[in-house]
Amino acid sequence: MPAGTLYRGREGMWSWVAHRVTGVLIFFFLFVHVLDTALVRVSPEAYDKVVATYKTPIVAVLEYGLVAAILFHALNGLRVIAVDFWSKGPRYQKQMLWTVVGVWVVLMLGAIYPVLGHAARELFGS
């Protein structure tokens, strides 16, 4: 640990870092997502053409990453609220982080087939 730093490591700091990184990524995606959806005002063809890229295997992997970022940010956000508003929140912040990670892993396992299934069928045949 370098001298004179505010950063303290461990669960508290790294969950904060992950919350920031996922938040910034989600915001940039949101900006792009509103722009691509706005194409419905141009023409059905223009919209369908752009949405077709969302259905390619490479972008499907990015979508899985987006789901990972959103689910972590959502679950950890609820943990932050609990830390701020629940009187015992700060005492249990570590346990709550590992609960967040556990729920996140389960949800990510559950998202494999729905989010990546069509890409697998496209790559390896159905």
Binding site: F27, L30, A38, D48, K55, A60, E63, L78, I81
Partner: protein, 160 residues
């Protein structure tokens, strides 16, 4: 200072009689941090506190809106492969999903913009850099919110 207790009647320990009564009231001592007319007006409001509160309140609502959105778009009914103009037209035929998407757009953009504002304040050390980055952020945010709102309200399923 062993105690801050005062006797209600103001009976002195030696006198044994009330020091003050209705005709001879005790002087009013103002609390040390009492705001008076002479206290300078605070130069900043509670903006940061409201921003902090907004992140938590909008966050709770967004958890429901966004996870519902992900379930519909990426998981149920064939996942992303079903999405197309016809699918959008079908959903926005219902005011329920219009309001859902409108609320999601506004809350997510304001939540994200306030988050990025915090990030810029934390890492951009020069005042000029902060000014330009936040100018860019606010421009992009207003543009995206207005564009998205316009698209939801003016959507025409028979555009072609």
């Amino acid at each position: 200072m062993s105690t801050t207790e005062t006797t209600a009647s103001g009976i002195g320990p030696v006198e044994g009689a009330a020091l003050y009564d209705v005709d001879n009231p005790a002087p009013v001592i103002e609390a040390p941090r009492q705001r008076t007319k002479k206290t300078p007006k605070p130069t900043r409001g509670n903006f940061e506190m409201y921003g902090w509160l907004f992140m938590r309140l909008s966050g709770i609502v967004l958890v429901v809106l966004v996870i519902g959105h992900l379930l519909i778009q990426l998981v149920l009914d064939g996942g992303v492969s079903k999405i197309g103009f016809a699918f959008v037209a079908g959903r926005w035929a219902s005011p329920w999903w219009q309001v859902w998407d409108l609320a999601m757009l506004w809350l997510a953009m304001l939540h994200g913009a306030n988050g990025l504002r915090t990030v810029i304040n934390d890492y951009a050390e020069r005042a000029n850099t902060r000014l330009w980055l936040k100018g860019l952020l606010y421009t992009a945010t207003v543009f995206t919110i207005l564009l998205g709102t316009l698209v939801i309200f003016t959507f025409d399923p028979n555009i072609r």
